[in-house]
């Protein structure tokens, strides 16, 4: 029931408000989307063309933005002079690994947390969720010390484990809400028919499979976009895309073209994935506070 269905009267004020609303949204969209346009277009510009700006105050001169001959050289240098192929693989392995681990163990835990009651369950649940909400830097201080003593710093397994610190609690929290919506009666009916507990669990899997798949994607998204863990725990052997992009900023020579190209390479796959799981995206980003 959308509140927009409410009748409204046409008054000067309401007309002014609706014009204001349209203008506001138009401005907001420009402000939101312009950085993407700049990033995308600049990644195809030669160095000098990217730096071209009109004279201050010359608003009509803004067309110089589109005055360039497109080049792919920034994308090719990413893969020839820098080894972005390796970094993409690192990002994929680290993000994918932690996502799969988190969702497999997370769904088992979420399922049982959803089905059983015991003393201290609330406290356990709070501990799980506070792990997810803890500041990354604060978590990293002891984790770095521990990983260093285990020789996990600078390795992909170390990074996978580090990402699991926020992905596993996230998976448990989201999937518990998810399993809560699957009626226990379905499993009960199966068990009355003689199914074992595990067979009953298996019988509801087709119902939850799309959601579980979406949460794998969400976990990949969070891990892929991480910078702090990758910069410290992954430093050296397990460089991921955001860290590699950041390293293109050198004190003497900031390779803006390559940075924009690397930005596109890092962002585009996540946008596509985001569109694929659009239905679950809002729930995932708001920790389940909003379901579309």
């Amino acid at each position: 029931m959308a509140s927009r269905d409410v009748v409204s009267y046409d008054t000067p004020l309401s007309r002014a408000l609706s014009i204001f609303g349209t203008v506001f949204v138009a401005f907001y969209l420009v402000w939101t989307l312009l950085p993407f346009v700049v990033m995308f277009v600049s990644s195809f510009k030669d160095m000098l063309e990217a730096f071209k700006l009109p004279v201050v105050g010359d608003w009509a001169g803004m067309t110089v933005f589109f005055d360039f001959s497109p080049t792919l050289k920034h994308y090719t240098t990413l893969f020839t002079e820098n080894s972005f192929g390796t970094y993409i693989m690192n990002s994929l392995i680290a993000a994918g690994g932690s996502a799969v681990i988190s969702v497999i163990f997370g769904s088992l835990a979420a399922y049982s947390l959803s089905r059983v009651d015991f003393r201290g369950k609330q406290d356990l649940f709070f501990w799980i969720i506070s792990t997810r909400m803890a500041p990354v830097v604060a978590v990293m201080v002891p984790l770095y010390a521990i990983f260093r003593s285990l020789d996990l710093v600078g390795t992909l397994p170390g990074l996978i484990l580090a990402y699991t610190t926020f992905n596993l609690p996230f998976a448990i929290w989201m999937l518990k809400g998810f399993f809560d919506n699957v009626p226990y009666a379905i499993e009960e009916a199966q068990m009355v028919d003689g199914a074992t507990r595990f067979e009953a669990f298996r019988s509801i899997l087709p119902l939850v499979a799309p959601g579980i798949g979406a949460f794998v994607v969400l976990c990949v998204l969070f891990a892929w976009n991480d910078f702090l863990f990758a910069a410290i725990i992954g430093s050296g052997g397990a460089k991921t895309l955001p860290v590699a992009t950041r390293e293109l900023v050198q004190p003497q020579n900031i390779q803006w073209g390559s940075i924009m190209a690397a930005g596109v390479v890092t962002t585009a796959p996540m946008m596509l994935l985001g569109l694929v799981i659009r239905k679950y995206l809002v729930a995932g980003l708001t920790m389940g506070a909003v379901k579309e």
Binding site: G21, P35, A134, V137, A138, A289
Partner: protein
């Protein structure tokens, strides 16, 4: 069953269709029941709880290793003078030193300023946006467009804005300069304006989160209240402040708490944009902690700072979970 719309034509045809439909349903009922393939046990005991504990155990074990164990390490480390080499017990010295550490205290103040500015702008813009989007025909497309910044890695967003803010070739710098807001110095270069720069990036990336949460809240504003108010002759503005906004408070509280904790959690874009500078104008506490722990590798001191940060987060988290669990708290 037969589709009603297909029941047309002469009465004879209808009758024959109905008959076939009936025959069909009889056939369904006559179908043999699904066979039970597994051997029924003699009795089906109520599910023992330990079964669930086995399912939970792996996740709990992993979490214990990567969160509980490090937490105790953190406490132990905070009582030591840990450097690259090893530790040495110094008792509570790390904590007592914090009280005289001006940058630690400034870090908290800056964190509070940063959060208040971010949240103020985000809630103001986000709610306005939600109200407008909610009454738009293109709601679905608008929301998709709004979701885009949140898909971008915060570090990449930081780099992108570093480009846009650049004093010689940044487009946003040019716009601000042309509009007469800035002189030729970059917004990032001055200690007075750098804070606004990082706030704007956070606003750019995360205002849409407030918008989608507020949008969900708007869908639940009781329609009868709105209509009653309209019939009483209230203006749209009055409607907004008297009915819509009070109905939004619970969801907005969730949104604000989520964003507030994220301001503690993510410093990626700040590290990329300013690294805490110029001077220490944007050195909010997590950035300061990052510097102490991972630039100077004073892990013991870092641990003490981290613990204070954790305690505040845990308190906020307690509040958030309580809000979440309230029935009107936005769980739909």
């Amino acid at each position: 069953m037969t589709d009603v719309s297909s029941l047309s034509g002469t009465s004879r045809e209808v009758a024959s269709k109905l008959f076939r439909a009936r025959a069909h349903s009889v056939e369904v009922e006559a179908r043999p029941r699904a066979e039970i393939t597994h051997k029924p046990r003699k009795f089906n005991p109520p599910m023992p709880k330990h079964y669930y504990y086995y399912l939970m155990a792996p996740a709990i074990a992993i979490l214990a290793f990567i969160s509980l164990y490090p937490f105790f390490w953190l406490i132990i480390m905070s009582l030591q003078d840990v450097d690259i080499g090893g530790g040495e017990w110094i008792g509570l010295k790390n904590y007592t030193k914090l009280f005289t550490d001006a940058r630690f205290i400034d870090g908290w103040i800056l964190l509070a300023q940063y959060s208040v500015m971010c949240l103020g702008l985000q809630v103001g813009l986000g709610v306005t946006l939600a109200v407008v989007v909610n009454s738009s025909k293109y709601e679905k497309y608008l929301v998709t467009a709004l979701l885009m910044p949140m898909m971008m890695a915060p570090a990449v967003a930081g780099l992108l804005w570093l480009f846009l803010y650049n004093g010689t070739f940044g487009w946003y710098h040019w716009v601000l300069q042309s509009a007469g807001i800035l002189d030729s110095a970059s917004i990032l270069a001055s200690a007075d304006t750098a804070m606004y720069a990082i706030v704007l990036v956070d606003v750019w990336q995360w205002t849409p989160l407030i918008t989608i949460i507020a949008l969900a809240g708007l869908k639940r504003v009781p329609r009868d209240q709105l209509e009653a108010n309209m019939v009483d002759g209230a203006s749209p503005l009055r409607n907004f402040f008297a009915i819509i906004l009070p109905n939004l408070y619970p969801v907005l509280l969730i949104a604000v708490l989520l964003r507030f904790m994220d301001n503690f959690r993510f410093i990626d874009s700040i590290l990329v944009l300013t690294g805490g500078g110029p001077g220490s104008a944007t050195k909010i506490l997590p950035v300061y902690l990052f510097e102490v722990a991972f630039k100077f590798f004073k892990l013991g001191r870092g641990a003490a700072i981290a613990l204070t940060l954790l305690i505040v987060t845990i308190l906020l988290g307690k509040l958030l979970v309580r809000v979440f669990e309230k029935p009107q708290g936005g769980k739909g």
